[in-house]
Amino acid sequence: MANNIRIRAGVHNLTDPQVSDLRQAYGGLQAISDNRGYQFLAGLHGVPSWYCWHHQGNSRVAQRMEIFLPWHRAYLYTFEMGLRDRVADVTLPWWDWTLRSRQQSGLPTIFTDASNNPLLKFHVNLPNTNPAIVRDTGRDPGDPGDLPTQDDVDTALGRTDWTDFCSALEDIHDNVHGWVSGDMGVIGTAAYDPVFWCHHTMIDRIWWLWQVRNGNGNIPTDLLDVVLAPFNFKVRDVLNVNDLGYDYAAGQVAIPVGG
């Protein structure tokens, strides 16, 4: 794409070399123990750093911090750049749980293949939390027929008010976390599961689809300058995915040119 915009693709559309690159990038991040590595980045979401934003549409606070979507967009961006530091052309793919094939078989095989696969699990090393967590991540997925459907997504996309849309999409998001269950099923450990990032890329993509239809006019202005700690962004900085250097494509193919 023009202007060096990188394209995020669906997991179902990845070629074998793309899957191989993605695994290499994940594996590279997982092998780093400092603040560039998987352990550190996953720990920003839940335990031990707890920066993430969920469930903040309540009326108990003066400012309803409905920044679930912007915060996770900044988080995905940071993680994706970390992947690209390991393998230059990698992008985060989205896991489309609405596909008929997913409604029949659940998690895509790139996340379940048990042979030396960094997309299957991660070894969490948190000996100093209370209580400690030192073990591999695990999952306990539900019936594939219980995953959200395209009708559920379309209903959310049909909500034109920001608060209404956020509430509907966050609920779909919550449902999928619970469906995967295991570590993905609770906020504290969800981001340690490698599938977390591709689930959230799907959520981010749905938000972008909504933005293409509705713009950003409904987002409360008092949210625009909220800082998305610990990232180098405010809400207004992450509204346009092209400004962050990426876009979403349903499919892409390179056309051979020349003789």
Binding site: V47, N58, T129, R135, V186
Partner: protein, 178 residues
């Protein structure tokens, strides 16, 4: 909020174990009957919502299945209109307190005027379930409704009270004209 006592054996040598799906539901909530004259066949509305304020989300993750006028609904009840099923909401739970004492206590009522820190992450949640079809069905034959919420636990660890999973402050039904 009472803190769930930690099990010294939970998770074995690795500490906290992997959260698991629980077959038994959490404690089922059924409201007292409330009048729904505003939802009768003579009243036009395009949409009806059940709004739940102050939902606790500090421990297990669950699906809250909402049934109208079916106080016997449980985890085996099919999710269809004939059973009064109106829709579900989902809570992505915190996973229990993974900090020192006080870490998960929400103290929003104690904050100073010049306290610009962000709200506590466990400030209770707000959930909305659109129940239009189910409310219309009930209102055809009744002028009262009960709300039953069946919590289906999707992920819980040793730090979660899986019986008392659905905790909230208030709920109400709203209808909107088209």
């Amino acid at each position: 909020m009472a803190r769930k006592t930690r099990s010294s054996s939970g998770g074995g040598r690795g500490g906290l174990g992997v959260p698991k799906r629980i077959k038994a539901p959490g404690r089922i909530f059924t409201s007292k009957p409330v009048k729904i004259d505003f939802a009768g066949p003579d009243h036009r509305y395009a949409r009806a919502d059940l709004e739940i304020e102050g939902v606790f989300h500090g421990e297990a993750s669950y699906e809250g299945r909402v049934f109208l006028n079916n106080p016997k609904a449980d985890e085996t009840t099919d999710k269809n209109l004939a059973n009064g099923y109106a829709g579900s909401f989902n809570i992505f739970g915190h996973g229990g307190c993974l900090g020192d004492p006080g870490h998960c206590e929400v103290n929003d009522h104690k904050r100073e005027a010049y306290d610009f820190r962000a709200p506590h992450p466990l400030t209770p949640a707000f959930k909305r379930v659109t129940i239009t079809d189910a409310l219309r069905a009930v209102a055809k034959t009744a002028n009262e409704v009960t709300i039953t919420v069946v919590p289906i636990i999707q992920a819980a660890n040793e730090l979660s009270d899986t019986n008392n999973v659905f905790r909230f402050e208030s709920m109400k039904i709203l209808t909107y004209n088209g």
